[in-house]
Subunit: 244 residues, 2 copies
DNA sequence: AGAATAGTGTCTGTTAGACATTATGCT
DNA sequence: AGCATAATGTCTAACAGACACTATTCT
């Protein structure tokens, strides 16, 4: 390659198109808790490659529409679910020569948490089928590409975080009871949590505020809470239950 | 885009070159502890863009040489340091339209840990200058692109991990004493650690074995240890010191 | 009143921090 | 012997787990 005196000169002669570049996509595991299960959003691919197979929602970075990687993630999320204020976290990037039949490709994975009451699934432009699938049942589906591995990485990250952060509050609706919150934590953790321990942690974290309302049912009503500072999440100094 | 009956048919007509793709690179923070400081390897860029500026070692994914993303990372590490068995961990991927003047670009960042006794810096093919710089002094250097932000992310990840994993053992030479190991932990943590607590943790983790040798000095000699299972690292259930 | 669920009190076990004490080699 | 540093003993504080107990509403 020729060298140039100034960067300006260099850039004038620079043409990206002359290089072989890997395909770059963003894929997401969008989680919600519904029917007492952790569910993930999947789409049935309408186009080649892996046409007809279930896959994580995602797609190419659109260099016109997206200013940054997370823009791509937000755009995809909005397209599939209509939700635009999820909890979003980048998980890992998978890239190699063989994961996509079109050639060397790389995908940046994110997971998103949304509350089940926000979700109204939308058929997207390419009229793909879209569905919530319990993560425990994804194994039966033979996901496209390496999406099973990607989902596993996202799921593992979420399960790790339930043990030492308040992140799962992002799966809750606007207001909720402590029992409901605990149930959500337990569903992600996959095992029951001792009630007093759980409440102590949540109280110490100081992340909730009472709404003043109560949720009544067939027995003693429960206080309703909302998240104090949405988007902030609390890190505990010790792991909870099932640790190690 | 036309549709095809079979994936084979689709792939026959598929040409990556017809798409605009972001530039894809790998950048690394290669850490070592030397002179009682955490140091990071930097290179002075020999070519545009950002010619003459210090930067993290890294570069384009070579779709011929590299089978996967981590191959690119290992290749870069080997080129700069000659080391081929580091501790390597992917940190995050940064991608946006403005971080590189050549256009929309994305970089996958890794950090590597190597022991200072393995390092023999090598000028690479493009005869870049290569140097170890204490992380505390990087601020004075005005790194190229967004490399300061990338370095910060890598540094933060390492500092977080010193609090709850045994990862820093990967900065040690083949054999070492517990006092030396503690010193390394303290350098990364940035604050002193109580000796007994530290030794209890290390003993509980059961990651070291005695070599049988002693390191003698001007006073009582210390037992020498080596890592039991290189590559494995231990996760503690509670954070150490300085937490929160 | 009794059922059912919400919410609290309190004991135990584990482990990190503090700091005193002992151990061992050198000059 | 005395110094310097390695290694250990032991007390305390913080917090998670266990589980019994109390509180409040409904039927």
């Amino acid at each position: 390659m020729a060298d140039y005196d100034t960067e300006e000169e260099f850039l004038k002669h620079y043409n990206v198109r002359q290089y072989d570049l890997p395909l770059a996509t963003v894929d997401m595991a969008i989680f919600t808790v519904q029917d007492q299960q952790l569910q993930v959003l999947l789409v049935k691919r309408a186009l080649h490659p892996a046409k007809g197979q279930w896959a994580l929602p995602g797609g190419f970075i659109d260099m016109k529409k997206d200013q940054s990687l997370s823009d791509t993630a937000y755009r995809k999320l909005k397209e599939k679910t209509g939700v635009d204020t999820p909890y979003l976290e980048q998980v890992a990037t998978f890239g190699n020569a063989s994961r996509d039949p079109r050639g060397w490709s790389l995908t940046v994975s994110y997971f998103a948490l949304i509350s089940s009451d926000q979700t109204t699934l939308s058929m997207d432009s390419r009229s793909e089928e879209v569905a919530w699938v319990p993560v425990t049942q994804v194994g039966e589906l033979e996901l496209a590409f390496d999406h099973e591995q990607i989902l596993q990485a996202c799921h593992e990250r979420l399960r790790a975080k339930v043990q030492y952060t308040s992140v799962p509050v992002n799966l809750m609706p606007e207001v909720f009871t402590l029992v409901e919150l605990q149930k959500t934590f337990e569903i992600i953790l996959g095992s029951p949590i001792e009630k007093k321990s759980f409440r102590r942690r949540i109280a110490d974290a100081d992340i909730l505020e009472e709404t003043g309302e109560m949720k009544s049912g067939p027995s003693r009503p429960a206080k309703l809470y909302r998240v104090k500072n949405k988007g902030e999440n609390y890190f505990f100094t010790r792991l909870m239950e099932g640790a190690r």
